[in-house]
Amino acid sequence: MKNKKHRLLKKLRRILPAEAVLGDEEQLRPYECDALSAYRRLPMIAVLPDNVAQVRAVLQLCAREQVPVVARGAGTGLSGGALPRTDGVLLVMARFNRILAVDEHNRTATVQPGVTNLAVSEAVAHLGLFYAPDPSSQLACTIGGNVAENSGGVHCLKYGLTVHNIMEVKAVTMDGTALTLGGRALDAPGFDLAALITGSEGLLGVIVEVTVKLLPQPDTARVLLAAFDQVEKAGDGVAAVIGAGIIPAGLEMMDNPAIRATEEFAGAGYPVDAEAILLCEVDGMAEEVAAQMETVDALLRQAGAVHIRAARDEHERALFWSGRKGAFPAVGRISPDYYCIDGTIPRRELGRVLRHIKKLSAEFNLRVANVFHAGDGNLHPLILYDANVPGELERTEELAAAILQHCVEVGGTITGEHGVGVEKINQMCTQFNARELAQMHAVKSAFDPGGLLNPGKAVPTLARCAEFGAMHVHHGKVAFPELERF
């Protein structure tokens, strides 16, 4: 192992400048995890290329040497997708941080994968355009990571996920082949490979360039904050708004613990006594927005809102959102650690699921704060725990698993936007059967027959599921009866 590392370091230093190849534990330790710090692994080596030729050379070398490669952007992922391999090379793409071209006539921007999400919108703001997907970490997360995870955000009910907002992806496969997926037209010949690589969690190729779609900034955007004394009533409010044919640009819900945590950081003016608040943003032409604001106001009152306030100006609008966008880390103020879950459920199940989470929270004796993309049913329960207390992380993981299990049971999914990574790999066995997982492995093999790109993430091996299944027997049925038990 040591020998192998030494040899590889020598070869990598022929491809990259010495400062871009990290091999000492001291330098590697800060790369041992992404934003899901509960999972940590020291990479064997980390490299920081700054051009595509270097990326291709590194991949070719690693393919030859049979060394696994994990790509990483800003390391803001919440599912451990960029968790390194102790026997692998961590390919850090942060230096690919240039915006290559803005085509205002075709409304696209071509960027390197390490450009941050927000930087794209900032670079085109003067043209009256913006890049729509806006994950909460948009200040820091990179476009490459966004594509790899098919990131969402608070505005994706109306504007879609990353997959709906990219045109073309350039990627390099493990054998060093450069591929252009999608194109500058609205469709491309053959299979929709741009859609396939989006959300593939770095298992199919390393993204080296992305052309994103830009949208005209809405004339007007207004946000309204409604407070409820019961979570269920807020859920009813959401259903009423959608049922009335309104597609809000953003529709977010927070429960009381989440409100309290974020209010302290953002000072957004959230009512800290409310059981739930809804943030509802409508955008478009001024006339349309005014009419919709009235309708939304009336519908939410009918649903039982005890207090409704519209942001008076752009400043207050930004303030309302700042609380929501900083909600996860703000929880760091009330708890040393938190564990974020990313289940998606049909909206109608919201009340039931929240009640169930409350029950589980009491059962496991762990506090849970809930942040919810109410428009699209994406629920983010944040389990508050203390990693310094022995056993608490394990209990947290069990609670998370129980919550995700419930999301699948009510017709939802284990991950809406954060990806499977390493974190939800076992839950994949609940959501997909062995044949479906085998099909995913077959797709992986078409891109990466040696299985060297980000192995062990996103799609579990059947053996792993069999092991996991053996522990989890639901409704009297053993999962994967077709598999042998180990």
């Binding site: 001291e26 330790r29 934003a35 803001t76 929880v331 310094n388």
Partner: protein, 398 residues
């Protein structure tokens, strides 16, 4: 974040503080986005989150190599990350501890690096030595190479300091570099306050900031005590505030209470001085200056020093004062980024400092300003070294 601090530090005040800070960090990475060095270098090790990790390793007992010291040295200490951090991680304080521990445990720096640090410590915090050397440099300037010449601030005449005539009095901390390099600033401040019923009395020298950040904690704390001693008589005589016109010094004076909290002889005095410490902008904003009636037809780009916006969390105050005074304050991109001055950073990390300065001036010039204003002597001299556009302390413009 999970922590397991090592025995050597766990139960010390420094260890307890560091542990509390580390545990607040949830490793989300938002701080990387606004970190000037991460933006330049693209390495986790040159980001706040990476440095927190390096410090954590060190405090958990791992061997400290040159890498840890290098990446901590590269930190500007601008604290933009603190403004960005939703979890409330007090990075600045953690860094201070980290640097001290690294200084004790890391392999010794090169002879050249140590000499440079000794030289800085021997000159900068000593206002008389600095003034002497500056005068020589100014005399030699005509025969120096152009690149070096640009770094030497030109002598500008200072307005007269009004004699104390008001009942309301405040102390102004004179600082180390400023009296020699830009005496006009405090004089302008004294005039402004005088016109509004407050007499400003100068006192003290170096606040200790330069030494503290180097880190030379012992010398820094000694200078802090000296400053407190210098201000104390005036405070006892009823000075309402300890005003600091350089935001970099203001942020340090505000930290005295924290820095000297375990010093029985000075804890109480430090608490009082810190509680009275005001950035000049805070004092000016409270003066109710009558807004100018006519615009001055001058565009000003304001570079808010990190020590003002991130260190003291004062935003928008100076801009409002300038607008009220009839200037057009032109917005420039990336207002949260450091100019690269950062105390002694421009001397210790010249390459990175130069790049940051270049970027900062490019950003400021997109606003096509007639003047650049700032609020800290370090930034002022640094910016002026590479631009023909006049750079002034904002108070000189009022």
């Amino acid at each position: 974040m999970q922590t397991a601090l090592a025995d050597f530090i766990r139960e010390t005040p420094r260890g307890r503080e560091a542990d509390a800070i580390l545990r607040k960090c949830v490793h989300c990475g938002l701080c990387t986005a606004t970190c000037p060095t991460y933006r330049l270098l693209g390495s986790e090790l040159d980001s706040p989150r990476g440095r927190i990790y390096l410090i954590k390793q060190m405090l958990e007992g791992a061997a400290v190599g040159a890498a840890t010291q290098l990446h901590l040295d590269r930190c500007l200490g601008c604290r933009a990350c603190e403004t960005t951090c939703p979890s409330g991680v007090e990075y600045g304080r953690l860094l201070e501890s980290g640097k001290i521990v690294a200084e004790q445990n890391a392999p010794q720096r090169s002879t050249k690096a140590r000499a440079l640090r000794r030289l800085i410590l021997a000159v900068v915090p000593h206002e008389k030595r600095f003034a002497f050397l500056l005068r020589i440099a100014q005399k030699l300037a005509p025969v120096l190479p152009r690149k070096l010449r640009a770094k030497i601030p030109q002598q500008r005449a200072a307005p007269a300091w009004p004699a104390p005539r008001h009942r309301r009095r405040m102390v102004v901390l004179r600082g180390c570099v400023q009296p020699a390099a830009a005496p006009a600033i405090d004089a302008a401040a004294a005039q402004l306050l005088d016109e509004h019923g407050v007499s400003l009395l100068g006192a003290g020298g170096c606040c200790g900031g330069v030494a503290l950040h180097l880190p030379a904690a012992k010398k820094g704390l000694a200078l802090a005590r000296k400053t407190i001693d210098a201000c104390w008589p005036l405070v006892e005589q009823g000075a309402e505030a300890v005003v600091v016109s350089a935001s970099g010094c203001a942020v340090t004076v505000k930290e005295y209470a924290h820095l000297l909290r375990d010093d029985p002889a000075y804890a109480e005095k430090a608490r009082v001085v810190s509680s009275l410490a005001r950035d000049l902008s805070e004092v000016a904003a409270a003066l109710n200056i009558i807004p100018a009636i006519a615009p001055r037809n001058l565009r000003v780009a304001f570079h808010s020093p990190c020590t003002l916006q991130h260190g003291q969390k004062i935003t928008g105050v100076v801009e409002r004062l300038l607008e009220d005074a009839g200037y057009t304050v032109a917005a420039a991109p990336n207002p949260h980024l450091c100019c690269g001055s950062a105390g002694t950073y421009s001397l210790l990390q010249p390459e990175l400092s130069r790049q940051l300065l270049k970027n900062k001036l490019r950003d400021l010039h997109t606003a096509a300003p007639d003047l650049i204003a700032t609020a800290n002597i370090g930034c002022l001299l640094h910016l002026q070294s590479r631009t023909a556009t006049p750079v002034r302390h904002w108070v000189e413009l009022l």
